[in-house]
Symmetry: D2
Subunit: 500 residues, 4 copies
């Protein structure tokens, strides 16, 4: 996912792979889905899809590469998606896979079962997908995509249950990992969150009889829906005829929400776990200023994602906040077939330093995270070229030292700067006057845990910082990934795969 206030060097950030949105009980539901997906565009920019159902015209679907606003706003396309029930999905392009995404990899997926059609969209990552796929192919399933999410619909197709919600339970009990799933039948909208609730999913109300499921509350705001509550970890809701039925297909569980959603993924105007994301980020800046103060003349953000923390840092430290780096607002998706000169321009196409402001000043630069670190070096160069006297980096997250296997696109561990170096080594390699990260406890305080992280039983999934994986990454272990020595997955045991 590209964050809402995105980082300019997007290829040096972590990315979530999708956002989901569904609505029932409204006229022209697909239009609402388009708006909701537009509000969730930061969670995936490569492609989007919508499936709708109309009593007369049945199921209809459209899947397109590119932004929601460039596709799903056109009258001519939206007319092909009639009905009062629809779901949609935006997808991030997993960088580095050998082949380009094909349109058939774009969700929602659809299956025609004997009791009727079903569409499914998924945010997260199935950690035992490889094993499931192999087993399903052995038994005669034909996969149409390279997406792991397709397992869910094939597991449903083979379930002997006679209604679709029960089939979904059957399927999801076989699946391990992190997932927020939305689905629809001819008459029902369904939402499920995995037992740990790693990925977000919220419930909203619109009009008299309408309900909405969405990855974030900002997608409720855009359509004027009322935010009711989050779907709970391990909960399934089935919505039909104005009724919301809740059940708990996986038994009792304690949540471990992804703490990086607070740091970078979610939109600052969303509310997660009862807290404003913007306020949390501003508070991280405050914690940083307390933990790692420094004398300087100016606090700047690496725009746009570092801005709330920079405002917090400036406020706490009393050092003035200024716009030292200006972002070009006309940058969009990747270039197609660019000239070499364009390819080599990278930075300057996106940013320009406000020379007159930084010249001669001691500058504190607040950034959200350090992944490969290559970006930090380039930004430091630009600031120094413009005549800054000193450059101090303050990072609004702890060092990112472990890959995420729960729906976030992370580089191999070997490419994570913090997996290879100490903070002092990183400071030297980046070439700045000082470098500091917020502590893990500081981050927990900023999200409202006054006592910081509960090491015995962490309140969040923070595997990317701690290496403490709440669900064993089955396929990855098969492929040779090594967990932290002596670690155990700290989460609840999921019985699905083992029990099989």
């Amino acid at each position: 996912m590209q964050p809402f206030l995105a980082h300019p060097f997007d290829s040096d950030r972590l990315h979530e792979e999708c956002g989901v949105f569904g609505v029932i009980g409204v006229t022209d539901a697909a239009n609402f889905v388009a708006l909701g997906l537009h509000a969730l565009q930061h969670r995936g920019q490569e492609a989007g899809g919508i499936i709708s159902h109309d009593a007369e015209q049945g199921f209809n679907s459209a899947h397109r590469f590119g932004y929601v606003r460039d596709n799903f706003t056109k009258q001519s396309l939206m007319e092909t998606l009639p009905g009062s029930l629809a779901i949609g999905h935006v997808r991030y392009s997993t960088a580095g896979t050998k082949a380009a995404t094909a349109i058939r990899d774009v969700q929602p997926f659809f299956g025609d079962f004997s009791m009727g059609g079903c569409a499914v969209a998924h945010n997260g990552n199935i950690t035992n997908a490889m094993a499931l796929r192999k087993e399903l192919i052995e038994r005669g399933s034909i996969f149409q995509s390279s997406s792991d999410s397709e397992c869910i619909i094939h597991l449903m197709a083979r379930s002997i249950q006679r209604n679709i919600p029960e089939r979904m339970k059957d399927a999801l009990r076989r699946v391990e990992g992190a997932f927020s799933v939305i689905a629809m039948t001819r008459t029902k909208l369904i939402g499920v969150r995995d037992p740990l609730g790693v990925r977000p999913l919220v419930l909203g109300k619109i009009g008299d009889e309408g309900y909405v499921l969405a990855s974030e509350t900002c997608a409720l705001d855009i359509i004027g829906a009322e935010f009711l509550r989050e779907i709970e970890p391990g909960e399934m809701v089935v919505i039909s005829k104005g009724e919301v039925e809740s059940s708990r297909p996986f038994g009792p569980s304690t949540g471990r929400f992804c703490i990086f959603e607070h740091v970078y993924f979610s939109r600052p105007d969303s509310i997660i776990g009862g807290r404003s994301v913007y306020e949390t980020r501003r508070q991280i800046g405050v914690e940083l200023a307390r933990e790692s103060p420094i004398e300087a003349d100016l606090v700047c953000a690496v725009p746009d994602s570092g801005t709330p923390a920079a405002i917090g840092f400036a406020h706490e430290s009393g050092i003035p906040f200024g716009m030292g780096i200006i972002r070009n607002q006309y940058m969009g998706r990747t270039f197609i077939e660019p000239t070499e000169q364009i390819r080599n321009m990278g930075v300057r196409l996106k940013l320009n330093v406000n020379r007159a402001l930084v010249k001669g000043k001691r500058v504190i630069l607040v950034d959200d995270s350090v992944v490969r670190g290559t970006t930090s070096r380039k930004i430091k160069d630009m600031i120094l070229d413009a005549g800054a006297a000193e450059v101090h980096f303050r990072i609004a997250s702890p060092p990112t030292a472990w890959p995420c296997f729960y729906g976030v696109d992370t580089p191999d561990r070997g490419k994570l700067l913090a997996a290879q170096m100490s903070v002092e080594e990183m400071r030297e390699w980046i070439g700045v006057d000082s470098l500091a990260f917020v502590s893990l406890d500081g981050l927990y305080r900023a999200v409202g845990e006054a006592r910081g992280r509960n090491a015995a039983n962490p309140q969040y999934c923070d595997a990317c910082f701690s290496g403490d994986y709440p669900v064993a990454p089955f396929d990855q272990l098969e492929r040779g990934f090594r967990m932290k020595p002596n670690s155990e997955t700290s989460g609840v045991e999921i019985t699905g795969h083992a029990a099989e």
Copy 2:
């Protein structure tokens, strides 16, 4: 022009109609032009054009609708524009004209003269274009576009001078209004600014023998060119073989630069008249806080254009700065054939209020200007819906009460809120707790004129605020526009048309 840190309700802003960029003495000049135009994209988003010249392949051109980055980055297109000399233009779509722009209206224009080809691109507005066009048609010129700028090349075609720079002088002496023109022959890059220097034009150096002409310094930064100086009001430069020849075709004159470039049009990281645009805008916020203080809990900007002034206001007033309004970064150009629902969404597609932040607070909203005022009302509604206790508007420019005829797309005077109402009436109509504009003197102080505006001999063109037009708008007067009673144009007399 859409400003670099643009306003979200772009249709309720003033717009400049273009940006120009030219370069000589570099390999693959068109690539540099593409980069320069990308940096000037805020001055015009509808369309762009590039003409290049190569010793072997002669003149080549490409004109395209849409963003520079979507067209002029492709290898396959850029290969068709070889050579070491090129100029380009980005164009704003003049909203409200009955017909859509045709591709033939996109500059640069080209003419084949007996002594060789010449390409011309123009930023500004020719105030006697209608009269000139009529005269040229009478004599057998065939206009290919509806653009007033085409007059220039026809006047050149008919000049009896035997070289192109002299023909350009002939042509521009016939032309009235505000213009920064760049042109190229097979071997020369030419730049001219009108006697008042209303529109900007700067000169830069790149490599050993290369020179650049651009609307703003930010376009020099992107290609790593060195900023040499501004072209002076009334100056013409002819650049060839590493030499810059300067002349003054219009006789001596005193400049009247457009003060609105400081307020809104130019990029904050550009330097105009030796001053940082960002710093000027921050200073306007400081002036505002001094002139119109108010008790409140939070200073917010209408993003993104109001941000520097909001930072200045917060700094001066001591009231915390926060991001109360979040802008959706995935909004792009206008929608093509949108559904009605999308059309009606306007605001929410672009902005969302950060509810958790503004709830219960007394909020100061800093905006750059008020044109029709419709936007201000909508934003006020959103802020109040989110639970703000009070809303105070502070505007970083004086009331916009007069149309601009010098290259800015302004509504008819009847649609300018400030032409119809007093400030108190405006406050009531918008429905806010208080409303204040920076004074004209305050604005002059912010741009560095410590004593404010020199009423007898104003340092800038501020006609949109003062109704004091430095050049009589000939065509407009013909069409029935009425100047301020008892006013005279305060600028130098241009002898061109009258002398004819």
Copy 3:
């Protein structure tokens, strides 16, 4: 299928639904497939697809709407289809179905089995597809298309055989109807014809080690391949490493080739059953002239499909042959979003009468068939408007009185003119001076059966003329189609479905 020398009123003809082509053992196999499909374009114009396999890059596919020549000739696309083994398919758009074809309906279909991938392309029609689809869905298969042909690959996926050719035998033994199937694995090219051999399939040789399978011999000619032989009814060939293995998965059977392929579907330069299609059609004209002579001044064809029979008729009758109707060669596919005037022009867009030639003459018009008859009326009108003295229709096939269920798109029986009227009634309805069809025996004589049709054991499938269906149309009977009273299907019993 649109015939090679097509009829101008294509919507009033019968259409076959596809052509298939596969090649193994050549460099850049997909290029050969593109050429072969171009030669088979008359068998389907709506869409085409190619799947190739390369040892390093695995399977790749491309499916496109439109002509082969507009898609599969481009370097940039063909580069994505590397390898020495490839198959392809062209598809006719079944007019009148409610929904437009989706790209996922375009063959070849692909399935990933545990022993590797397999691509399948199918020409014909599966008469028990509805029943099979229902059964497969019950067991958990997810269909991706609305195409009946997809059954084949799902049946293969569920087979317990451990190699793909055996799985294909399993699958095709379950399938009823008319089919010529080609398929490919990573190393093998496979071809199968149904027990009656209703649809054509030929084998060719190219280069030292290369083999080709194609619907018609004209597709061998275009790539310079040598025509070896037809695949026999009920035969399967598996080609690998320069070897062709033949087997007979369905037991012994006698062929019943589609006689309409001779009349209209196949290209005149193809050779079927050892006979030139052109010569057969010319001979039908000869038979017509013998059976239904008439005094006249001129023999004309309804271009282009009626031309060979018209030449034969002219030769036999001694009446001069002339081009009385001229076809506009710039007509292509259907219009997209046409103006009403264009929609109403139909005839004149395609044909013009050669007025100077027909004026005052008694004209014999030779056409290939009469389906709805609407076309015949329009042509008659045009000829009379141009001043012809008399118009005599001679039809190069017997009356088309029954729908085809074996891969040809036929109107409902109620819309077939010959199902509703006697020949004299038809003559009157069309409004011509005389009307005659070739007799069924005459047609059999023209294809080389000197004694005509063997009523007890017909040599061809001629169900569209005789109502004698060699395979019971299972799904159609379920839908309420009524066979000829007291008729039995005259063909071999296929045990597949019944035995289940």
Copy 4:
């Protein structure tokens, strides 16, 4: 121009460069123009343009690359061309020019004059265009296209006449060469033919008040217009309010119509000079059979253009006519970015020999003309490969030994086979058993001149065969073209240029 029954190796034919069509006095005139241009598509396939005029909406235009049917049939485009008066143009791509045609080269051209707008479309070639263009540029005209036809509108713009028809007379008196011009003002439709009437132009009537001007009668047929008469050589008609005014701006003259229009350019269903083109071509075949008989088994045409002459030859000789070569009807415009294999296929993509028919036979092949001769060799190879015993070429025109400068795209004289070799040398080079061309007198007889060609005062322009140019090709002579020794242009002297 590609002929209506086109030759398969179009690049080895002569091509005319355009067709024109205009209509006044009908509702939605642009729709009629679209239909007319579709019927004239054989005269130019590269691009087309339409300009219409509506009392309320003024002039509107659309210019597009590609076929008429792919552009000017769409509701959405045609709605932008309202009004009861419209003209259009189809353009052939002049092969071999260095640069591709730009859209601004596509006619009709438009000029805004002081008395109103005027659109002009031109079929033919202005032989003094280079000289005129130079002169016009000297005086300040700016050319927008590389088309010679643009001279006309610039000459009109500079005329001191106060109405448009008089300005057109002024302009055309300055122009030399062959031209049929149509033009329109806000209220008038204008047509002019040069004094020799080299290119065709006909007048038709539609409805009560409507009139049509078109290159050929087939374009009247498609819209149901009545053919009134040909515009005479040297005649101008001005049509307005249901009246046709005729005048003769160039003084008296005798026509020299292009005889190649009969041979190849015009559609066979058109009527020229009172004669059916089809019948003329058939008659050429008869003449050929009389002049150059040969014993053989089969007469075949090189499709489609050779067919009428082949029918005539077969009829006269008594040798059966058959379809020995089958043309692929799915070939369209040039390939874009084709693979090398496709590029090398040329012939086979378009034609296939009907092997079963020609095998063992002595074949007479009737073709329309020999230009470079490369095609003839390839066709001969194909026929022999298919097993023909003998191949005899009969050509339905005299040897093409001279380039055309009157609107036909001809190769340089050095590339015309007949300019380099005797008929016997050509026979040997092509490699056929015999080769014969119709004689010039035979051709004249076929067009109805019973006594053949009048050498002293030829009835037609036959410069391509005879080297006898009726108008001196001014620009070509400047460029170094050498006329036939001792020849004079046999036509009327045009006083325009000389008088200047």
